[in-house]
């Protein structure tokens, strides 16, 4: 599988995947810290954690939308449009996170 993945995935998608992996690691670290140190400022934990989760999900959406195999499902969404949407979604997400922390 791994070899197959390395062979077929375009460079840009790999970049996205690395970013997603990074987000998973950050989210996991936050969660572990929360478990160890307690969740006293619960809103801070929540906003940090949901920032990673939300960003992960949005990035996954971007990955899905820009994937050439999913062309049929997204007739109206070009990759450029997908990227603009991604920026829009991320901005809103970060606004709420910063407001909530």
């Amino acid at each position: 599988i791994w070899q197959n993945y390395l062979d077929t995935t375009p460079q840009r998608t790999k970049l996205i995947d690395v970013f997603m992996a990074f987000l998973v690691v950050v989210g996991g670290l936050q969660f572990v810290y929360c478990v160890i140190a307690g969740n006293y400022p619960f809103n801070a934990f929540l906003s940090g954690f949901s920032a990673t989760v939300g960003q992960f999900v949005l990035t996954a959406s971007l990955r899905i939308q820009t994937n050439a195999e999913n062309k049929a499902d997204f007739g109206e969404v070009s990759p450029e449009r997908a990227f603009a949407d991604y920026v829009f979604g991320s901005l809103i997400l970060h606004f709420f996170c910063v407001n909530f922390i």
Partner: protein
Amino acid sequence: MSDIIEEPFFKGSTGRNTRGVLRLTILCLIAAAAIASRLFSVIRFESIIHEFDPWFNFRATKYLVQHGFYDFWDWFDDRTWHPLGRVTGGTLYPGLMVTSGVIYHALRALTIPVDIRNICVLLAPGFSGLTAYATYLFTNEMTTSPSAGLLAAAFMGIAPGYISRSVAGSYDNEAIAIFLLVFTFFLWIKALKVGSVFWGAWCALFYGYMVSAWGGYVFITNLIPLHVFVLVLMGRFSPRVYVAYCTWFAIGTLASMQIPFVGFLPIRSSEHMSALGIFGLLQLVGFVEFVRAGVPSRQFKTLVTGFVVAVVLIAFAALVLLTVSGVIAPWTGRFYSLWDTGYAKIHIPIIASVSEHQPTAWPAYFFDLNLLIWLFPAGVYLCFLKLNDEQVFIVVYSILASYFSGVMVRLMLTLTPIVCVSAAMALSYLLDTYLTIKSPPEPTDAQILDAANNSSSKKAGKQDGIRSTREPLVGIYTTFSKTTVVSAMTAYLLIFVLHCTWVTSNAYSSPSVVLASRMPDGSQHIIDDYREAYQWLRQNTPEDAKIMSWWDYGYQIGGMADRPTLVDNNTWNNTHIATVGKAMSSREEVSYPIMRQHEVDYVLVVFGGLLGYSGDDINKFLWMVRIAEGIWPDEVKERDFFTDRGEYRVDDGATETMKNSLMYKMSYYNYNSLFPAGQAQDRVRGVKLPEVGPTLNTVEEAFTSENWIIRIYKVKDLDNVGRDHASAASFDRGNKKKKTTKKRGPKVLRVE
């Protein structure tokens, strides 16, 4: 469904323009009709806030406009729930107030200074026009038929089920919430169809707005996951579902947590767990789909499917465990009573005591929705015929909302949008079929065979007609049948308009603050006792005089009389309400210390005996007793208020507990003096009252309104020489025996 509808007129690009203009005109007219039909009460009476809850919203809006947003956000209100106060900023949904505040300032910036009261009164009609437009958009996403959207908008504009909560003056959360509900659903469908983050983010933003406006947002939080879950079960999972749902959930949950009243609830309460669960499920399914695309092995597929099912089961078990162990709050009573319909009546009398929380009767459906209610199943059936992602939404929504509206009267409101949409789909399908001038082509043999197969599975009634029109074989050839059907439908539609107007005018346009009655000659007589009494309170009592009344009138006293109250319609502290209930239902000697402890200055009771106004405090009295009994079962007993034969009476046969209760005494105090001796009549209960009226020792009558609806009593101060009030009062009345007995009473030792 007819995919391409031939538009007989206006072909080509000029035709498109003309159609656009027509659409715009029709939508504007619908909005105008929606607004106009809600103005009955303003035109007939005056531009005031109705009902009880809106008075608090109005008061909060005034506070917002006067003090600005930040003060409003952390507003501690010390004029309600007297000894406790209320952290208002953290216990309300601020969407409604902020909306009207924004409108107020916008109009001000446009140099159109409008009083905030008028904005509050006319907010609901204004938003109903927007609701009609949102319904138009929503329906257009659902069907290709060009007329369905307009029909749905027209239905939504005037359907009484929605008008009942959005007449002018009803400044309640539902006023803007229904617009937000429909618009959020429109954005959701749009996001699902396009599969774009953009629409998903907008959906989340409007969902956040909806959360800030109404507690009914829980309906959305459960409906959208349910829709997605059904889609996944049907094997309709697609990347678009993933994109739309995950965007909505990630942003929408964060947005909903910004509202202080909601706070961490989306993480911690059971109502929101379905959304979280579906979010997790989608991640799994998305990952599995991804892996499956890479590995074309059948065994691997079954393995992975088994893995998904196992994870879901484990997650569900974890959820149950967390709920049982208390990390996640279980269902709140209000929601729980939707499932276990007998729950509220037994355990939480305060929920059951509200008349809106009763099950709906059948006539109510017809009364509120007229012809829509029988077109509604037909529309849902049509959705089954062509089951796309968005049609599944209609099916899920209609099933869920139908159930809820059957359990609780006030949830008729969430049913109305989907009824309008699906009825419009059914009707437009009929009209599309019968309004084409062209005859269908002659059928071929294959189609005849096909139709023969189908006809065996036909069902009776309305749906049969629709189904058969779907078959090309059963085309409509004669103009006569076309005109018959179309004119019948037109007649129904016209009757619908008449019905809606009649219902709105007669049933839903009466302000509860002002009671209207008819004189014998047909002229209108206004009974304005409420405002008379509140005005008296406002002008003749000190600024910080505490008023004790039953919680129904708390908001109105705060809004109109501007005096602190003990309890109000926001029933957040049950014990405090029970305290008031106990004070009202106990003997004077018991209730006087309670009133002293809570620094009560005035007591207000509503009495309808003179006028036959049935919503008075004697009729609500049993609920006070029940709520008080829930806290002090030893001191207040419901059984004591019934006679031996189990009757609830106020006349000679009333029990001693009833006659000695503070509520009874305050209601009937001096009432005998209105009538010739021995003929005092209570017009609500329809009974003759006892000869001798009750006497009051600890309170004195301060004000009684013109028709005796509102009676206000002042709580007496402590006696100057330290006697208890009963003996002081009887001394004043001269009840002391003439013959002074020398005998010493049994005194106790004086203890210093």
